[in-house]
């Protein structure tokens, strides 16, 4: 884990993980550790951990759908000011087609597709950007504190 900026008003931590479902527990541990350090209350912390885990899961499931044995790594950066939390995800997978990123219809009773819904419920904004090299995708989630 690297601390990019560490003063009392602007904190930022970043860590990279192998793009694999077995990394998801490590993503959650990293997130919990950072939120504890940032003194985010426990209830909000667990919601944020869920949103982060769902976004990381989407990278594994969708951006690397055809590459289950990839050795690529994804990065998660959590930044916090006194007013807002920003969580960024970076990956080198298939470029995200923004038009396809939506949760399924509420009357569509079938498994899957809930991750994006959870992220939307928990976070205030979701933005997809092109990643700066070497990254392909950069997802940015924000939440007012």
């Amino acid at each position: 884990m690297s601390t990019e900026v560490a003063d009392t008003t602007n904190l930022s931590e970043k860590k990279d993980f192998l793009v694999n479902s077995s990394s998801l527990k490590d993503v959650r541990s990293f997130s919990r550790e950072v939120f504890e350090k940032f003194k985010i209350n426990e209830e909000l912390r667990e919601e944020l951990v869920l949103a982060i885990a769902e976004a990381a899961q989407n990278i594994v499931k969708h951006a690397y759908k055809d590459y289950p044995d990839t050795q690529d790594r994804m990065a998660v950066r959590i930044s916090c000011t006194d007013k807002e939390l920003e969580i960024s995800f970076f990956d080198k997978g298939k470029p995200v087609e923004k038009s396809k990123v939506k949760h399924r219809a509420i009357d569509d009773v079938k498994p899957g597709g809930l991750g994006t819904f959870f992220i939307q419920e928990i976070m205030d904004s979701i933005k997809f950007k092109e990643g700066d090299k070497p990254w392909i995708n950069n997802l940015v989630l924000t939440k007012k504190l």
Binding site: E54, Q57, V109
Partner: protein, 95 residues
């Protein structure tokens, strides 16, 4: 990592789950739960020991319910932990 314990009584199989349910272990849960449903028994999923569950766990529950309907039986959730209850509450409109 997820641990399982299965107990049987008359026509009910109870699966005690202990750990975190995510994409990495969802198939392990299916491998334990689906054969019990397929045998036609009522299946209770005891979630007291599950401290984290994401959309993958919800998918397993939705699939289990659908499978149980097809087999004319049912799946019930028992002793749902607080963290899981919060996720279920968010997902309720889909369940």
């Amino acid at each position: 990592m997820i641990k399982f314990k299965v107990t049987e009584s008359e026509n009910i199989s109870t699966v005690f789950l202990d750990g975190e349910i995510d994409m990495d272990v969802a198939d392990n849960v299916r491998e334990v739960v689906f054969p019990l449903i397929d045998s036609g028994k009522e299946v209770h999923l005891n979630l007291k020991g599950v401290q984290y569950m994401d959309s993958s766990g919800i998918s397993v529950i939705v699939e289990s319910n659908q499978r149980a309907k097809e087999k004319n039986t049912k799946v019930e959730l028992k002793e749902v932990s607080q963290p899981v209850e919060k996720v279920l509450a968010m997902a309720r409109k889909f369940l």
